[in-house]
Symmetry: C2
Subunit: 287 residues, 2 copies
């Protein structure tokens, strides 16, 4: 079927958006639209310009016989800032406070559009790292982990707190919860994670970091490598010692007073992380 440029642009945009981080050969598009590769190249230039200008991401071209083009989802600093400010405003509502200094986030995490936007920020941070799989722990981190994974084009593995018959053989570890100091168990299906995988850990909430620390221990059992840790909300309330060093958070609870029903919310360490990256890049250039 012969396509005009306008039809091609619409369908190519859809195809690229549906397959982020996935290399598509020019031949694929040329055959799909019965068009010359030179026309396809021009189409891709238009799409790349628009994606970059509108903050959708970029197209990366890989030369050679095995080459092609891939859509890399990116979130600009301005857009990320706007989303984080919105989140801070929504999260600062004292009605969210639950006993123990926990926070009701179910409505935010129940909104697929919001979750997708948050996921795109984390995927944007790790867009150039080699990641094989996104890991999270059941239940609340799951939607966010899927959102990140869909922009990275990798699978999700879910660590559970209980063994289910539908998982098959599992590996189980004990870990100490950072806040309650109690010993807890987490399990992961043996077939769900391959040895040597590069893993990005994503979760919705982190206090002392015991659960995330547990996941890091789980990685050792699978001889897997930790690439990074991303959390939506971190809280430093009632924490003697943070068990996790390097992580990226979007929102930070600095002061939680359950009695007075007050929460103080600020942006997480994401933007200072961005600045560090910038300084590193500048130093690279000076060299």
């Amino acid at each position: 079927m012969k396509f005009r440029r306008s039809g091609r642009l619409v369908d190519m945009t859809n195809h690229l958006l549906l397959h982020p981080q996935h290399l598509v050969s020019l031949t694929f598009f040329a055959e799909r639209y019965d068009s010359a590769k030179s026309s396809i190249s021009e189409d891709l230039t238009i799409i790349k310009q628009t994606f970059e200008q509108q903050g959708i991401g970029t197209l990366v071209t890989v030369a050679g016989a095995a080459g092609g083009v891939k859509y890399v989802p990116l979130v600009g600093e301005e857009e990320a800032n706007s989303l984080v400010q919105t989140l801070c405003g929504v999260i600062a509502n004292p009605d969210r406070l639950l006993p123990g200094g926990y926070l009701y986030l179910t409505d935010i995490l129940g909104n697929p559009n919001m979750v997708s936007q948050i996921g795109k920020i984390f995927a944007s941070i790790y867009a150039n790292r080699k990641i094989d799989v996104v890991m999270t722990v059941a239940t609340k981190g799951i939607p966010l982990a899927y959102a990140v994974a869909s922009f990275l084009d990798v699978p999700v593995v879910i660590v559970r707190r209980d063994t289910k018959v539908t998982e098959g053989p599992t590996v189980s570890i004990n870990y100490v919860s950072g806040s309650t100091k109690r010993i807890q168990t987490m399990v992961l299906a043996k077939r769900s994670l391959q040895e040597g995988s590069n893993v990005l850990i994503i979760d919705d909430f982190m206090k002392a970091g015991g659960t995330i620390n547990g996941m890091v221990s789980m990685l050792e059992e699978f001889k897997a490598t930790l690439v990074g840790i991303g959390v939506l909300v971190e809280s430093d309330e009632d924490i003697e010692e943070r068990l996790v060093d390097e992580y990226i958070s979007l929102v930070k609870l600095t002061d939680v007073n359950v009695k007075e029903k007050q929460i103080e919310v600020s942006e997480g360490n994401y933007f200072s992380y961005l600045n560090e990256i910038k300084i590193e890049d500048e130093q690279e250039e000076e060299k």
Copy 2:
């Protein structure tokens, strides 16, 4: 900023795909691109044609002052058939068999792209129904529920088997598991579902239907209305009586022999459901 048609087509396609079932006014696009509404209308005609021709979905135009255009995601019968056949082939692998006639589906449900395609089929079935929320039960149904919800532009609520401190006050019900006949408990956070909501239930696996039946009972507690039930895989193995009448399944396990390591897999009732709809439509037209 002034846009040429080619840039508009790329950005409008992205915007519409990101906001399924969401009415966007022509004024929004006209201002976004500093273009005449007549040009925007022509753009939308091109996008609609391409979406329909390529099986992406359609654009529905709503006339009047409060009008606009919305993207309705649809999956054609051919595309759905191809996905279901792929799923049947993947699921028929006897290595998936687990004790009790359960099936290892974690790898399929861990693939965001696959989950998204499955979700689009269910969203396509219910595209013209009034749905306020998608409900599922933790843990394995969650990614599928999010995929469906993202194409319907509605939130997800997650029923749990245990009470978590981060949920706030909950409503709890007891139900009888259809397969094991044991009494089990499920809970739902009070603030997560509004009274009178129209609910679509989505789950990954159904045997006798006890868990889904439990969710239906939960709906009564919230005075909510059941719109439909969608399951990825149904199994009629060892079932004396199905507890759920009306549901749509994509894949059906007809014969599971754990001892012999054999599974017989066929397509679910989805296509017979499609045929019923067609016959109803024809009867409508004859009247």
